[in-house]
């Protein structure tokens, strides 16, 4: 029972709030919460894996989120024709281009970041925190230098605007799409981790890196790969979040970093399942509380984090073995 409890938390939370609202509000809020959770999961998964595999805590992870968001703006700007077109194919093509550009740019930035900054500070958490915070400052300034400090608008593709009715609840199309994309990515990541040799090595490495090396796997190289993939995912999350907000500011990464940290703390640093559950919890809590008690909404995530840490000091899915 105690081992199953973290898995049951999500449905329990969903059911617990049902009596306090109409069914249609509940459905709309749940979809909104899950959509937010999916985007948070994309942003947080890389951070948690990088920590699990190499014991590296990257405070500059938010920089990749920001970069992804700005890349989306830059790509969608010239593609306005496609974005507002009636053709859903052009819509999706524009969206795909934006997401792909975000993934590539963040991935490349991650590669450079790992090579220049992270590689030199293995083993010292203090230095890691300081150097990645320094990196975050520089990255944020570079983004402002390139795109300017003013907020930038961007438009959602025409087919993802508006909303539709589902069981009497008004559901925003984009949210549903975000849930779908998030599920696809989660399923893909799950398959990669559980069905492939690379995934097997990553899971083993999270538990005991030294032994994996003693079995002949070059964990350093693998780590670079995971770091790049995690950065790219953060970029995708940033791009999707930007489209969801339809307005981005340079502080987007910093704001999301706080939520991402809460997600990985709740889930248990290093655990992908924990990261997923944590992201959903944060997304749902933000939406439920925002509806039931708007005044408390801001504190809901902090309260959630404190409550879970008091219950399970190492998060819902602690990663052992080190």
């Amino acid at each position: 029972m105690n081992r199953l409890a973290p898995y049951l938390l999500l449905p329990a939370v969903m059911l617990a709030v049902m009596p306090f609202m109409s069914h249609s509000s509940w459905l709309a809020l749940t979809v909104a919460g899950l959509a937010m959770g999916m985007m948070l999961f994309l942003m947080a998964s890389g951070l948690t894996l990088v920590f699990g595999l190499m014991d590296v805590l990257n405070f500059a992870h938010g920089g990749f989120i920001t970069l992804g968001a700005y890349l989306a703006v830059s790509v969608l700007g010239p593609l306005t024709g496609w974005v507002s077109s009636e053709s859903w194919a052009l819509n999706l093509l524009a969206l795909l281009a934006a997401v792909l550009a975000a993934a590539i740019a963040s991935g490349v930035a991650g590669l450079a970041f790992e090579a220049i900054l992270i590689r030199r500070v293995y083993g010292s958490h203090l230095q890691q925190i300081l150097i990645t915070v320094g990196g975050l400052i520089v990255a944020g300034e570079l983004i402002v230098a390139l795109w300017g400090p003013q907020p930038l608008p961007l438009a959602k593709p025409a087919i993802l605007r508006g909303s539709f009715l589902l069981f009497g609840a008004t559901i925003e199309t984009y949210r549903m799409a975000a849930v779908a994309v998030g599920l696809v990515v989660y399923a893909g990541m799950h398959a990669l981790l559980n069905r492939t040799r690379i995934g097997l090595v990553v899971r083993a490495g999270v538990e005991n890196r030294e032994m994996v090396e003693a079995l002949g796997y070059r964990v350093r190289r693998l780590f670079v790969g995971v770091f790049v993939a995690g950065s790219a995912l953060a970029g995708i999350g940033g791009a999707m979040w930007a489209e969801y907000q339809e307005l981005i500011t340079p502080s987007i990464g910093g704001e999301m970093t706080i939520l991402v940290f809460i997600v990985v703390i709740i889930g248990g640093l290093g655990s992908v399942s924990g990261c997923f559950t944590g992201a959903m919890l944060v997304g749902l809590a933000a939406n439920y509380v925002g509806f039931l008690a708007p005044k408390l909404a801001l504190g809901s995530n902090i309260a959630l984090m404190v409550a879970i840490l008091l219950w399970r000091p190492r998060g819902l899915f602690p990663v052992g073995g080190k």
Partner: protein, 241 residues
């Protein structure tokens, strides 16, 4: 020694501020079982970790098949064909028994005949093939760790105290398993506290004390000379016999 597969030549290793190995010299002949004995804290585990590159030797040479490996990173050392079973066994608790074994195979996955051999050696692992390794008993974990080391053909098997903390029945089972490996002319470097096991398996022996090798020779000679045993290995040995 004419056909040594592995040699330590004047190896010094520091761990942080502590100087642990003070010039270790010994050789592991090909096709034989070499026992590395010594009291707790003599530096046996450090010697094995230095061999695997998990702690870098500060001075001296470790050669494997004629090549100096003392500066190589751990994965490269392992890829030369060395299988290592650490004192802590290094079992991945969250992975299944199957996945633990699969990690040690080449890109093609399991070779059926070798898998069959291993499962015949330790049938219990076959029964728990799809279960999480974290749920195994201590003895079963040790069997899994050894199975993982022999699931592929390797040139050298390095095992750190496989009998530590195990029940006598399990130890007998392990001795049997090692005897089969020995019969197949597997080169083995084995660290042990259990003298029974050492006597049963060892061809040559090296004894460590305070980070140095204090005795080298035939296992049979040491097994026959209780006075030498007493002097080298102390009273703790009597308890094992």
């Amino acid at each position: 020694m004419p056909n040594a597969l592995l040699t330590f030549e004047g190896v010094h290793t520091h761990i942080g501020p502590y100087h642990i190995l003070h010039g270790v010299d010994f050789a592991v002949p090909e096709g034989e079982v070499t026992m590395l004995l010594g009291r707790n804290g003599a530096g046996k585990t450090t010697a094995l970790r230095s061999l695997m590159g998990l702690w870098k030797p500060n001075q001296g040479r470790i050669t494997f098949a004629g090549r100096d490996i003392s500066k190589l990173p751990t994965p490269e050392i392992a890829r030369l064909g060395i299988a290592y079973v650490p004192e802590t066994m290094g079992i991945f608790a969250a992975l299944t028994v199957r996945e633990n074994l699969l990690l040690a195979t080449g890109p093609a996955g399991f070779q059926q005949d070798r898998l069959d051999t291993v499962l015949a050696l330790f049938p219990v692992l076959g029964q728990k093939f799809a279960q999480a390794a974290g749920g195994l008993s201590g003895g079963q974990k040790q069997m899994l760790a050894i199975s993982r080391a022999i699931i592929e053909e390797r040139r050298l098997l390095v095992v750190d105290e496989p009998t530590k903390g195990l029940a006598p029945a399990v130890i007998l089972h392990l001795i049997e398993a090692f005897q089969k490996l020995k019969a197949a002319r597997t080169t083995i470097l084995l660290v042990e506290q259990n003298f029974e096991m050492a006597r049963a398996l060892g061809d040559t022996v090296a004894v460590m004390e305070d980070g140095r090798i204090v005795h080298r020779g035939d296992m049979a000679a040491l097994a026959a000379d209780t006075g030498l045993q007493e002097r080298l290995l102390g009273l703790s040995l009597a308890a094992h016999q």
